[in-house]
Symmetry: C2
Subunit: 157 residues, 2 copies
DNA sequence: TATTGTTATACTCTATAACTATA
DNA sequence: TATAGTTATAGAGTATAACAATA
């Protein structure tokens, strides 16, 4: 973790730098990483209540309010009253929200290309396999990791 | 970075979890990750001035004061006056500091074992090679990554 | 004038708990 | 009573800039 030849240390460095780069890149179109994560979440669970989505993304309720406020002020998503429960606010992406999410996704794919530059497909797959092995060693639940076509997908960075 | 099959997303997840685990583990012997990083830095550059070490670890001067205060209160390191510059304070590990650093290093090696469990040496080396390739793609300077026996080593997580 | 270490301060981030309106 | 969303608030963490001693 801390010395030479350490997988742990290298992973923590690369993870930090990857997150930093991602934040920098989506920042160019005016998004913070967790705003991007929320746009993805709303796209995935469109029409669900604000707190239901917050819970799945592990965002505290009070923090959620601020993020939704901001994205709503930018007209990227909307709160709509729930017809069957007047306490609840259901979340929907606006057309602008869909567009912004698509842009951010494109940027994320660009970063993925940068990260994997010079790796043949076979080596990239090998790397992913090895990383998934490590994920299991760290007890990272599979639903929080990308994998081949199984059900739930992660909502963001 | 955000979707399935993404190296970027997986790296950021693993990096976060690795750092979290490391913090948890060294926490058991009363250290925070950056306190560990500083102990390592002082061991590596023992006798150098407080700010010189802070700069190498990219710790702001005012933050450094608090960390050194704490470690000095715990008698893990000492400030000693510089005989040639009365403004400067040179840092030294105490015997207890050396001991604590060794304990933390042992714990870090344990985490490394957990991370790499079930990987043959050949696969582990392959993983490290692939991660170094990614590091180059991300312009992470080689001096900040563990590598085979070259000069400067990273000071901590 | 510049630099070392320190202190004070301001700022961000986040979570906790109180509050309202509903259920 | 309990829950959805909101607001207010307090805490941690961190950086910025002012300060005293020394170069």
């Amino acid at each position: 973790m801390s010395g030479s030849e350490s997988v742990g240390f290298t992973l923590s460095q690369l993870g930090l730098e990857t997150s930093r780069r991602f934040g920098e890149i989506v920042g160019e179109i005016g998004l913070e990483p967790r705003q991007f994560a929320l746009l993805r979440g709303v796209a995935r669970w469109e029409g669900d209540a604000q707190q239901a989505i917050a819970e799945r993304l592990q965002i505290p309720a009070s923090t959620m309010v601020a993020i939704v406020d901001h994205l709503e002020a930018e007209r990227l998503l909307e709160r709509r009253p729930d017809p069957t429960d007047r306490r609840a606010r259901n979340l929907y992406l606006t057309p602008a929200g869909h567009k912004r999410l698509a842009e951010a996704t494109t940027l994320a794919m660009g970063l993925e290309s940068t990260i994997c530059a010079g790796l043949q497909n076979r080596k990239r797959d090998l790397l992913l396999d090895l990383l998934r092995h490590v994920a299991r060693n760290l007890d990272i639940p599979s639903w929080s990791l990308p994998d081949k076509g199984s059900g739930e997908r992660p909502a963001g960075l």
